[in-house]
Amino acid sequence: MARASTPAEAARLAEKRQRFAVLTPPEGVPIRFEVATLMGRAGAQIADIMLTFLGALAIVIVIALLPFNMGGDAAITLLFLLSLFIRAPYYILTELLWNGQTLGKRMTGLRVLAADGRGLTTHGVVARNILKEVEVFIPGTMILASQSLGLVWTLVLIAWIAILLIVPLTNRKRQRIGDILANTYVVRQPKILLLPDLSTTGADEEFVFSADQLEHYGRFELQTLETLLRANPLDQAVKKDMQKTLVEVMRQICRKIGYDEPVADDRALAFLHAFYKAQRAFLEQKQLFGDVRDDKHHRRDEDSG
């Protein structure tokens, strides 16, 4: 993989490494879903296992409290059978009822989607959860009992787990075998959160920038500044430890764009907001006319080409 030479390039590489499943609906506007990581899915799985186990335990306790007498052996037997029958049906029912989300997936913000972009079919949900037994539960219980396994079976187990990991790691959508069979994949549930528009706050007469001064930065720097400003809204007092950072950023920008007028330290935040707005208006205008500037090195391409 290519080494990143600038922060902007590093950010681009990081974004490339994040896996997206792109889906084009009939409206023709591609929609991106972020494919869930295996770690995230393991977390959801563990939450589900704990929930089902607690559920089975609760049922056994209730039955044990009922008037008729049940010995310890019978209770253990019952727990054994229950944990077997609560498992697959639990996943199938929850994924059917909540459109691809078990309780564990709800907690961790994941969901199952059909790979063809249509609704989840009953067949798909049943198939992926039946194979979950072979892909998750049986190897899992065998790992727990691995001390009593012989050498041959330990090797078989290792090979088996290797296959189970290789399959999802070698396809784009991180599908496990059950997902491939059911034609489904797991994505992060997109979070809906509308933040205020930064360009509409704050007075802008105090700082005025010329077009020359706005030529220096690109989209990446603008959005980095946006992140900084979202952490420091105009209408709130600046946190002590942030003030120094803000002043430093302000000074750096002034130096880079050649902004000569002195800016007082306590006006640093106001300056940055005003600069953000002016820079964004400038870059958006450029973009509208086909001049897309991804970062401050955007001129390099023109020079070399």
């Binding site: 506007v29 609704g119 067949h123 049943v126 049986i138 997109p190 360009s199």
Partner: protein, 333 residues
């Protein structure tokens, strides 16, 4: 602040924000499982807002550099897409459709896989029985010790009889856990026979064969003590259902394996996907049968002590399964 003071993308947002928020509300309602409860007006509104918001997203990608706004629109459109195109499937009719049509049909379509499973198991029974009759020490080769539960060629005929009729208070009293073990063991065998069939049928064949070997040796042991008829009854009451369940699960595995071996005109991945439609139904049928078998094993075998009765119950239920597989769902659609 006046409209003019805002930059273009901020004005763009101001004009459409109300629509986005309305869509957000509708999507949240639809996701709460109320998609079916949305009124006609609301569903139409959902579709309209979804379409206008996809347009907003498309425009925003071009004109806006506001990262937060882009992330919001991406997420909103993605969630709305799911609400519009991939909503909660209605579950009514899924169960009855399975029992009345799709289940039996899948069974009949998969007859070749089920036959293969049956042949593998029968082969195992015959081999083990023949070998055991020649030399009793074969028993230890076929029967895993933890499954034998004290029943081996060294045991006395009385012990074996007690195990069958559950009169003894001795070594075999804790039959509950043993039955549960056997049962979960068979569930596991069924599961493996099903899912490992993908590897060109071989594991399914071996597992079913091995199951047949155990059965053959077990039967041979009792036959040699003149307990053949009794053990036949003991096995019948749950075994007809349980062994059929294993054979059916293996049948599903064979169908998957056959799809991998002979994909026909499509790619192996697609062939597997198509075959899985029926195979998964076989697995569900097998799970249902195993559940019934578990009940029969846990209760029926202890309560019913009469051999004739055991045979009648076992094969009667077997006939019911067969009727379910053969009779419903012949009509077109």
């Amino acid at each position: 602040m006046t409209d003019v003071a805002h930059i273009r993308s901020a004005r763009f947002r101001e004009q459409r924000e109300a629509d986005w928020l309305a869509l957000e509300k509708l999507v949240a309602r639809a996701e709460r499982g109320a998609a079916a409860k949305l009124s006609f007006e609301e569903s139409r509104e959902l579709a309209r807002l979804y379409r206008s918001t996809t347009t907003s997203l498309s425009v925003a990608r071009d004109i806006s550099l506001d990262k937060a706004l882009l992330a919001y629109l991406e997420a909103l459109v993605a969630r709305a897409y799911i609400a519009v195109y991939a909503p909660q499937e209605t579950l009514s009719g899924v169960v009855s459709r399975f029992f009345l049509r799709s289940g039996p049909r899948a069974m009949r379509r998969s007859w070749i896989g089920i036959m293969m499973g049956f042949v593998a198991m029968a082969l195992g029974v015959v081999i083990a029985y023949a070998l055991f009759m020649q030399d009793q020490s074969w028993y230890y080769t076929f029967m895993p010790l933890e499954m034998a539960g004290g029943r081996h060629p060294g045991a006395s005929t009385e012990t074996l009889r007690d195990a069958i009729f559950d009169t003894g208070e001795g070594a075999l009293a804790g039959l509950g856990i043993f039955a549960a073990f056997l049962f979960s063991n068979n569930t596991r065998v069924a599961l493996f026979a099903f899912s490992l069939g993908v590897f060109a049928c071989v594991p399914s064949f071996l597992l079913t064969l091995f199951n047949g070997l155990v059965l053959g040796a077990f039967y041979g042991l009792h036959e040699s003590r003149d307990l053949g008829y009794e053990v036949f009854g003991w096995l019948s009451i749950h075994g007809v259902t349980e062994l059929s369940a294993i054979i059916i699960a293996a049948g599903g595995g064979f169908m998957l394996g056959l799809a991998v071996l002979f994909p026909g005109h499509v790619s192996r991945k697609d062939a597997l996907r198509i075959a899985s439609k029926d195979a998964v139904k076989l697995a569900v049928i097998s799970a249902i049968m195993l559940f019934v078998a578990g009940l029969l094993e846990g209760f029926g075998r202890q309560i019913v002590q009469d051999t004739e009765m055991r045979i009648m119950i076992g094969w009667g239920i077997g006939a019911l399964w067969l009727a379910w597989f053969l009779l419903p769902g012949w009509g077109r659609r």
